[in-house]
């Protein structure tokens, strides 16, 4: 009977023991992506692919969907917002957006912009990423 009680106690305390090991919470980044003044309506029309690289406390990379990369507000030169989540609870994250003309290659780069933001554990940090200058793009 005593053994049964001790086992029941162990089982009931196991979750607490697991919980005491440490807690992770998501931290969020709201990135507003913008284009520099170089990007006129013609230059915006040349953008084919938007690839984001994440470095720092977390490493990641992803490509924005075709529709997300092709519905850019030409007047405001605003690509739009994305949200990034991480379980890292300290340090900085650098978001680097690379725009490509036809294919994702070094030769077809249209522009690069970056922003570095500090992690505020469990909270949302907002930042603006601007791709300042238009590059040559794919060779003709």
């Amino acid at each position: 009977m005593k053994r049964l009680v001790s086992r029941a106690l162990f089982l009931s305390l196991l979750p607490l023991a697991v919980a005491s090991q440490g807690c992770s919470t998501y931290s969020y980044f709201d990135i507003d992506m913008k284009l520099g003044v170089d990007f006129n309506i013609v230059a915006i029309g040349r953008i084919n692919s938007c690839h984001m690289f994440v470095t720092g406390a977390a490493t990641d990379d992803f490509t924005l969907s075709y529709s997300a990369c092709h519905t850019i507000d030409t007047a405001a030169r605003d690509i739009g917002k994305i949200q990034y989540s991480t379980l890292a609870d300290s340090g900085n994250l650098t978001f680097t957006l690379v725009l490509f003309e036809r294919m994702e290659s070094e030769a077809c780069k249209l522009g690069t912009g970056a922003v570095t933001l500090g992690i505020d554990s469990g909270k949302t940090v907002a930042g603006t990423l601007t791709v300042p200058t238009l590059e040559a793009g794919c060779p003709q």
Partner: protein, 134 residues
């Protein structure tokens, strides 16, 4: 005069001599040494079957008692139904199972919560949501 007579009668009736005589009359016993001398001596006319004096009968009785004791010892102990037919077994087993399921459920919930829990839903109007948990 009547009152005096009644008082005398009452005193006589309540005196110890009178009471003892009365008790003797009621039980029929004889008091004093005279009664003991008059007590008759009885002798048993037949052997008492509960207390036999014959050695054969005594031995036979002892043997019977021994045999009865042996038979009592040899008699198998009633174990009752098997454990799985007892309601206590199923009550304990059910309790343990329910407790185990609860512990597993709680542990998974806590582990999920420790690992960050559910990621927030993607806000409306955003071009996309990326990162861990997505």
């Amino acid at each position: 005069m009547g009152v005096v007579v009644m008082g005398v009668v009452a005193i006589l009736l309540s005196s110890p001599v009178t009471l003892a005589a009365g008790a003797g009359e009621q039980t029929g016993e004889l008091g004093g040494a005279q009664g003991e001398k008059a007590k008759p001596q009885y002798t048993l006319q037949a052997a008492d079957p509960d207390n036999p004096t014959d050695p054969e009968v005594v031995a036979a009785k002892k043997k019977a008692a021994l045999e009865a004791e042996l038979a009592k010892k040899k008699k198998p102990v009633e174990e009752g139904p098997p454990f799985y037919q007892k309601w206590q077994f199923w009550a304990i087993a059910g309790g343990v199972l329910v407790g185990l399921a609860g512990a597993i459920y709680a542990t998974t919930k806590i582990v999920h919560s420790v690992n960050g829990g559910d990621v927030a839903p993607c806000p409306m109007g955003y071009k996309g949501c990326f990162g861990e948990g997505r």
